[in-house]
């Protein structure tokens, strides 16, 4: 009897874990899968469900959100959002977004003016190591996802304004190629410790870097974590 009970418990656990893992991909009726969103033409209307991973600071009834589901990343630029709703967009929150797919300087996004509703569900996407994809076309497949890069060497650090208080541009080299990263001030400029850490990076330091794979005329990750080695 004990063996049967143990087997039942084990099977229940396996099934429940499988259910948890798959819940991120389950879409409501009328909602696109990531693959359908990815295949949708630019300037077409899209309806997606995704989980908030981070957002830039709310301003003027708009908010820019980095989101993900299990299959890919999304960038919701300047969604219509009240200040009260912005407070609800904590990491992991599931939202259904209706808007138009567009591309701006290479960044594929849901364009300004999208609307959203909050749904039940929670998911935080893990960072994917895409170091091996640097400099290759395949890197674009990870656009808007939380990604990590290992053993990157700092080659240049500059403030957008010439002094603290705005974005920080950080260039890293890897295997002789230079890549542009950015600490987006409205994403994490208010985290003084992190802002100071990135601002004080010096040429030659080797770091592991995490960030959302934003695109501006080429890959331009928005940095969220730096580990100096």
């Amino acid at each position: 009897m004990k063996k049967v009970l143990a087997l039942v418990c084990a099977l229940s656990l396996v099934f429940s874990l499988a259910a948890c893992g798959g819940s991120a991909d389950k879409k409501s009726a009328g909602v696109m899968t990531y693959a359908e969103y990815d295949a949708a033409a630019l300037d077409s209307e899209v309806v997606v469900e995704a989980y908030v991973q981070a957002h830039q600071s709310w301003w003027d009834n708009k908010i820019t959100v980095y989101a993900a589901d299990k299959d890919g990343g999304y960038f919701f630029y300047n969604m219509n959002c009240s200040e009260a709703d912005a407070a609800k967009l904590t990491p992991g929150t599931k939202i259904k977004v209706t808007g138009y797919k567009s591309e701006w300087a290479g960044e594929v996004e849901v364009a300004e003016g999208a609307t959203f509703e909050i749904e039940d569900g929670n998911y935080i996407a893990p960072a994917k190591d895409v170091t091996a994809s640097l400099g290759k076309d395949e890197l674009k497949n990870y656009q808007n996802q939380l990604v990590s890069f290992k053993d990157m060497t700092v080659s240049a650090v500059s403030y957008k304004n010439g002094e603290p208080g705005d974005d920080i541009y950080v260039n890293f080299t890897k295997d002789g190629q230079e890549y542009a990263f950015c600490l987006e001030y409205y994403l994490n400029g208010s985290d003084a410790d992190f802002y100071n850490l990135v601002g004080s990076l010096t040429e030659g330091q080797v770091c592991d870097v995490e960030g959302y794979l934003y695109w501006y005329e080429g890959p331009n990750p928005h940095i969220t974590k730096v580990t100096v080695k």
Partner: protein, 534 residues
């Protein structure tokens, strides 16, 4: 009965006093009065909120100006806060007005100042300061060689007048330029006139959409081509309406933009948005990036963005392997009447905010005036296609020499940048500005939104017809609160009176009731005394 009368009188007095207090509301600052002397033994810390075009050379020029100024006035320390976005400055100033923590000096636009002025004496009126013989423009007690009032370009200083008074001084001026890939236009068999019409630009743009059998565009052999990209669609609509002498707004703040000419313009824009021959910065990205990649033929952007334009531009946001070789030329924006060209005047101005200590305001004014000196004006203008706002700087030998050294290969004298500056220098008399009033900033946003909306709608295969246009006008008016007939408030014009607050109504009712009671009491006493006499 006498006791009741006394109580009633006391009540009336209290009510009247309270109501008078209520009428005044929160007490604002007293209007600034120029002090007799500037106390150089007292230390002043002043804040300066500045804007730069993500250009570190501009930041260095601000820093040098502050350093040079502080050397002349050791008792003044200028603390700079940098922005790269006018909208953020505007937002922060508005937030700080309510807490009386505005900056001392601020780079801004007159449209924004009109909103700042909703607070009593918030922004310092400059009329008296301009003409003060001691501390005024080039006054006797100024420690540097400042321009006189007459040495500021008249059109530019006029733009700083709100109603009947000056509330700002110009800092830099630019206009918009049409940056053209001349190589492509000529390769398509067109000859470029000195001033292009809108029809010419639309025609060439449509011709540039021709494709090869493999789907690439014939003109550039690439997969991407947006022949015409406009950076600032609010300027686009405003300029087109101005050139057609059509309504936009009047100085009283009456909104005139929702008219048939605007619809005609939008229908024309929609045609070209539908074919993909026209797009905007908000939809597609910076015109300069497409121009430099050979993916755009007509790029309209500020002359203050000239260093980003062309094969040999000082700055590139695209990787250098994507930059193509072509001949860039700078023209006025397209016109409806080439014999009467009109182009917008734009660029940063400066204002000073009022403070309790007149000495602090005077210190702010001294710094703001310093920003008009030749060194600051020339060095800052040369960072981009700006022009100095003073004739004193424009006409000095050093600036003329700078203009004469234009070269595609010399970053300091990049020819496109200098041609852009010369475009404004040679056409200052053809520039215009829009009326400034509380709400003019919203109207400007709405003007751009109309073009953005039809462009997006066409790309999204929506139907743009008369019904669409009616709805667009209605929605835009509501979104930007342009429904009122007049939005004025700072020009001395009357505002439409809104409904009184509940507390005020209660006070008035109480006062009327008290007066009725007093009248009744007096009448009762009068009748009683008559009866007694009988």
């Amino acid at each position: 009965m006498r006791k009741i009368a006394k109580i009633t009188l006391l009540f009336v007095l209290i009510t009247t006093t309270l109501s008078m207090c209520a009428c005044h509301g929160r007490k604002g600052l007293d209007a600034f009065v120029i002090p007799e002397q500037f106390d150089e033994t007292k230390h002043y810390d002043i804040s300066f909120w500045a804007k730069n075009d993500t250009n570190l050379t501009q930041v260095d020029i601000y820093k040098k100006a502050i350093s040079d100024f502080e050397a002349l006035y050791p008792n003044i320390t200028v603390n700079m806060r940098l922005y790269t976005d006018y909208g953020r400055i505007y937002n922060d100033v508005i937030t700080n007005i309510s807490t009386n923590t505005t900056p001392n000096v601020c780079i801004t636009y007159p449209d924004h100042i009109a909103t700042y002025m909703t607070g009593a004496n918030t922004v310092v009126e400059l009329d008296d300061l301009f003409v003060d013989t001691r501390f005024g423009l080039n006054g006797s007690e100024i420690k540097y060689d400042a321009p006189s009032f007459d040495e500021i370009v008249p059109q530019f200083i006029d733009e700083c007048k709100i109603g009947e008074h000056y509330y700002a001084v110009p800092f830099m001026r630019s206009t918009e330029a049409l940056y053209v890939n001349k190589t492509y236009v000529e390769a398509m068999g067109y000859e470029i006139p000195d001033i292009m019409t809108w029809d010419f630009v639309w025609e060439v743009s449509e011709a540039a959409m021709a494709k090869n059998a493999d789907g690439t565009f014939k003109v550039n052999g690439q997969n991407v081509m947006i022949p015409f990209i406009y950076k600032s669609t609010d300027n686009m609509m405003i300029s087109m309406l101005k050139q057609l002498d059509a309504g936009y707004s009047d100085p009283d703040g009456n909104i005139e933009i929702f008219n048939d000419t605007t619809k005609d313009i939008l229908f024309e824009v929609s045609k070209h948005a539908g074919t993909g021959s026209f797009s905007t910065f908000k939809i597609s990205s910076y015109p300069g990036n497409f121009l430099n990649a050979g993916q755009c033929i007509f790029a309209i952007d500020s002359t203050a963005g000239a260093t980003w334009m062309g094969t040999h531009a000082n700055h590139h946001d695209i990787s250098l392997d994507k930059v193509v070789e072509f001949e860039t030329e700078v023209y006025p924006i397209p016109q409806f009447d080439v014999n009467d060209p009109k182009m917008i005047s734009q660029g940063p101005s400066m204002c000073i905010f009022n403070k309790e200590d007149p000495g602090e305001v005077l210190a702010s004014w001294l710094f703001m005036q310093f920003m008009l000196t030749n060194d600051v004006q020339m060095s800052y203008s040369e960072t981009e296609g700006y022009v100095p706002v003073t004739l004193k700087a424009q006409n000095c030998d050093e600036y003329k020499e700078y203009l004469s050294l234009a070269s595609p290969d010399d970053p300091d004298h990049y020819d496109i940048k200098i041609k852009a500056a010369e475009l404004l220098l040679n056409n200052t008399d053809k520039t215009f500005v829009t009326p400034v009033f509380n709400g003019s900033a919203s109207l400007r946003d709405a003007a751009g939104q109309l073009i953005e909306s039809v462009t997006k709608s066409m790309r999204r295969k929506e139907t743009v017809d008369a019904a669409y246009m009616d709805k667009l006008f209605k929605d835009t008016a509501a979104l930007y609160h342009l429904n009122q007939k007049s939005m004025a408030g700072n020009n001395g014009q009357k505002q439409e009176l809104s409904r009184l607050p509940g507390a005020s109504i209660a006070l008035i009712v109480t006062l009327i009731t008290v007066w009725i009671l007093l009248g009744a009491y007096y009448l009762y006493g009068f009748i009683s005394s008559r009866k007694k006499k009988k």
